[in-house]
Symmetry: C2
Subunit: 353 residues, 2 copies
Amino acid sequence: MKIDLGDVAALARGCAVLGTGGGGDVRTGALAARRAIEEYGAVPLVRPRDLAADALIVPLSGIGAPTVSHEMIHGEEEPRRIAEEIERIFGRPPDVVMSSEIGGANGVAPVAWAAQLGLPLLDADGMGRAFPEVQMVSMYVAGLPADLVIMADVAGNVVTIRPVDGLWSERLARAVCVAAGSHALMADYVLTAGRARGALIEGTVSRALAVGRATEGPAPLRALRDELGAVQLISGKLTDVERRTTGGFVRGTATIEGTGDDRGRRLTLELQNENLVAVEDGRVRAMVPDLITVVDTETAAAIQTEALRYGQRVTVLAWPCDPLWRTPEGLRTAGPRAFGYDLDYVPVEELTK
Amino acid sequence: MKIDLGDVAALARGCAVLGTGGGGDVRTGALAARRAIEEYGAVPLVRPRDLAADALIVPLSGIGAPTVSHEMIHGEEEPRRIAEEIERIFGRPPDVVMSSEIGGANGVAPVAWAAQLGLPLLDADGMGRAFPEVQMVSMYVAGLPADLVIMADVAGNVVTIRPVDGLWSERLARAVCVAAGSHALMADYVLTAGRARGALIEGTVSRALAVGRATEGPAPLRALRDELGAVQLISGKLTDVERRTTGGFVRGTATIEGTGDDRGRRLTLELQNENLVAVEDGRVRAMVPDLITVVDTETAAAIQTEALRYGQRVTVLAWPCDPLWRTPEGLRTAGPRAFGYDLDYVPVEELTK
């Protein structure tokens, strides 16, 4: 199949849902995707199993402060410069583009990058959701060495990092990003399809498309819940949002008071770019790496952390993350303690049964 | 000729003089040089004209906050990692090591780096003195593109920057350096001997050695003055030092009141890591890029900006910079206005005749 103009809106809606409140504004990515498809044509979507073992995958993502990313349309030069650097290093250009992060803008924008490079897009990503740090990707959890990061900024600079590990990769990439004006395009874990086996979260572009399409019918919230296999944590009104932005990260809490069937209940979300923990009456009902998304009760459109406002009528959905995140290494990388919560991970299915 | 154990002290003294108060503590570089010569043997010193046109020169320097550099002995892994990255990029290892900056620790430490790599040292550098910023090198002034910077830190990370220009090179390298713990080894302007023609300041290692040796006799100050062809701006006592360290840069002023023949005179130095401007009675007597160095009146040992103390008996010497720095591009890059002084450059010979 191909991703064409008519698919972009659904893909963007789906990526917003999988972004669990973070991952940047999908509208920026959608605009870039539409423009690139108009200029270069529809983008073939290929499955990992369709690739030859030596096919070179370039996982791409925008890195930077969300507030800056919102205002920027990604240029065409950055993907090209990264592809050139890959050719210099590997002796051949990449064969396929992958989204490093399906949740948020980084799930949609790779359509534009693939179109600009004349490459297909891989139906997979490195998170199955959104996460804030460079090392929080399936390739890292699978134990692949974080041995190469390539960054390109709008000024035309290209920086290649050979970090000793994923944590250094995050630290150095972040510093380069800030120096480059708080926004850059990044290739992380460039790898062959053979090496990628078991280290990607597969089918996530198709899933985002399906999730986005689910909300096109007459009962969008129910359809979305069914498509995700999600538990509805609460439906009600946003009564309190406390949020501060420090160092490019949004932190805070949001409180929802139940209405209708949920009257008398009250759910609090802990936010760090993404919605990370949901608490009701002192009891945790869902926690990272499981997915928690706040949607508009009527339209089922996902609401980003930064767009949460007092009085909104919202529903909070939670559903299981990819099994990779539930492994010991997955939880070490992106479990509740990786975000500073003194909580042992319990799957959302158990917390809500 | 070769640089052997017996040469290190003189080289270090000479590099301190050429450092014009900056360039880091030469003791760190001297210690590294001695250790490396003990382990790997003396280091051949070769002239640019002795190199084949395609010989690959790797200009190296430590980058970072002086306070951190003082406490660190450079590791052996960093030069090796940079050489490996050069081999990856150029398809062959470097042939000769060059000091990017002869003034200060970066003039001495390349002896160690060359010894560790088993390579000769080039009798040339990119400054003929010390300067604080990455783009303030002769290769930049000569118009060579600042198209590649390779950095290696103690943790083992290697970062390659392909900047759009020298100013971006400074900005990105500085950010990586800070993220890497405020110290890294850097290769800047890796180039062939053929391309380097006219873009290096030649003979500066020999010159530093000669300058250092000049101070070994019975009348060190006079011998140093003669060797440098320097004007003695004042001899006296340090009566006021005002200095603050911000963002890894030392800024301030130092005032010397004349004694002996200079009684009644008073000279003020403007400091920014290096001694940049010397003023007497509201009249500038020497300014950057000409060299201004404060030496101990008795031993003629150079005193670093950070080691200036009330009561020291000092003599201030000034002498002409390399002609390259007096070209329009040289002055744009490292003239008084590049450091924020609203002064038109006038050569020290004219200011003091």
